[in-house]
Symmetry: C2
Subunit: 287 residues, 2 copies
């Protein structure tokens, strides 16, 4: 079962010892751009729709981004008692922004991505993810997320979603204690931050570090959720929430009565995502 | 991020439009054998331990087989009220057998795989999966599973686990209505069968067909569970249970008090696996 001679995009991960490939149409690459921050490429795949990569790493595809975007958004928004002001750090493809704006109670959703190029490419190649960009509650800022959070008014946000690339390159600072401390300051008393936190199979050390840094930064509670994400290494991914207040479940009734359609998220799936396998529980208990 | 020049094993799936690769040690392939049924190969990977393939398709690796084996076994055994006699069709690597035998109430666990070569290779390259093969409750038969079930005493088994390869080649018959009808006949009144049922992202048509065939075969109830399985296409996998009696949850207390260690399975994870995403629920409701 060697790859046939059709064109493929391949991302290999040396530390994982694995690689993942998507077969491409004859058009292959439809966009390539070196921005001041990173290299953005878009490929046309045979079965996954469009594929965006940054510096050669898979960011998203048309076919399966719903998993990541729904799980980065709805669990945290249904955990906060009444989220009105939401900040998205990164998330330039606007898919998280779209999911946030599905919540009628949200009054302001600010997306702060350092690279305008990502949003412009998404508008062209993932227009469905950008359909809410004109919502009057949406603000798109192209700026340094670290600086944005540092300079934010104390207690201003209800939810901060860190929808970043991997913790190398421009996103590295988004996984550290200093950034988490700034997030804590920028959040209200019931505030919650959520961070994409990589694969349970490959990145348990990083996951443990994220919990440790969140606690050191002053968050008293942190909680990881897991979900499938086929185009990321191992196909199994996580996000990790942190809060000053204890997590006492989530607003299940509101979640069940959500006035929008989801493909993956439901209150039952939310509970399932919180049910960590024993090997993860043990790792976190020993922190 | 092209694969580096190290050696890789790659499985590509044309219908999925994707491929998955594992990096190999310098030894690369450590076993190759054409049995009367199929080609068995074992590779030494850099990060996943040993890898067994059959006819070029990934069967299992040392590192992540716990996900599949635990989820093919514990949910169905904790759903049946008191499983004593368990039949495993396929499962020649003996990993499912090992998990079944962890249940003290099981009195007989028969593994019926058509190809002895799989078990002999597993004994050598996955010895930890074969550690229970000498259990007095274990029977290893190398025979045609279709025929075995057809000739079984009616009502003999409590649980039948169909731990098969993909529905092409020798395993094709294991996904059909006639086989399911034979399973139904071989099961007691509370009997449950479970079938590995491929990826929710790639194989929803097959999943729908499995439910349809199970119902047509006379099972009144069928239920799919989902879980991560990194080395299978999409990294997201399912099994589907079928029963004459309605599924009324599972033995949660027994599951919580299980006298053996699991890495992935727990009663909470069990519930999470039963929580199907809306897109799957809708597909099954429309059958």
């Amino acid at each position: 079962m060697q790859p046939t001679d059709k064109p493929w995009f391949t991302e290999s991960c040396d530390e994982c010892g694995s690689a993942f490939s998507l077969s491409l149409t004859d058009k292959q690459k439809v966009h390539e751009e070196q921005t001041p921050f990173q290299k953005i490429e878009v490929y046309e795949t045979e079965k996954f729709g469009n594929l965006m990569t940054i510096d050669g790493f898979v960011m998203l595809t048309t076919r399966d981004n719903f998993l990541y975007h729904e799980m980065m958004t709805h669990p945290v928004l249904f955990t906060h008692p009444d989220p009105k002001r939401v900040l998205i750090i990164g998330g330039g493809d606007c898919g998280t922004l779209r999911e946030v704006l599905r919540h009628p109670g949200v009054e302001l959703a600010q997306q702060v991505d350092i690279d305008e190029g990502v949003t412009r490419a998404s508008e062209k190649y993932f227009p469905e993810l950008c359909e809410s960009n004109g919502d009057p509650r949406a603000e798109l800022h192209f700026a340094d997320g670290l600086k944005w959070v540092k300079e934010a008014e104390a207690g201003y946000y209800d939810v901060i979603i860190v929808d970043s690339t991997d913790p190398i390159g421009p996103a590295e600072g988004l996984f550290g204690e200093a950034f988490f401390r700034d997030c804590l300051r920028a959040l209200g008393d019931d505030g919650i931050m959520v961070q994409q936190s990589e694969s349970p199979l490959f990145h348990m050390k990083l996951l443990e570090a994220i919990h440790t840094y969140m606690r050191r930064a002053g968050f008293d509670h942190s909680q990881t959720l897991h979900f499938p994400q086929p185009v990321y290494p191992s196909g199994w991914w996580t996000c990790t929430m942190a809060s000053k207040s204890p997590f006492n479940g989530f607003r299940e009734e509101a979640s069940a009565a959500r006035p929008f359609k989801t493909l993956y998220y439901s209150p039952e799936v939310h509970k399932g995502a919180l049910a960590l396998p024993p090997f993860m529980q043990e790792a976190f208990e020993n922190l």
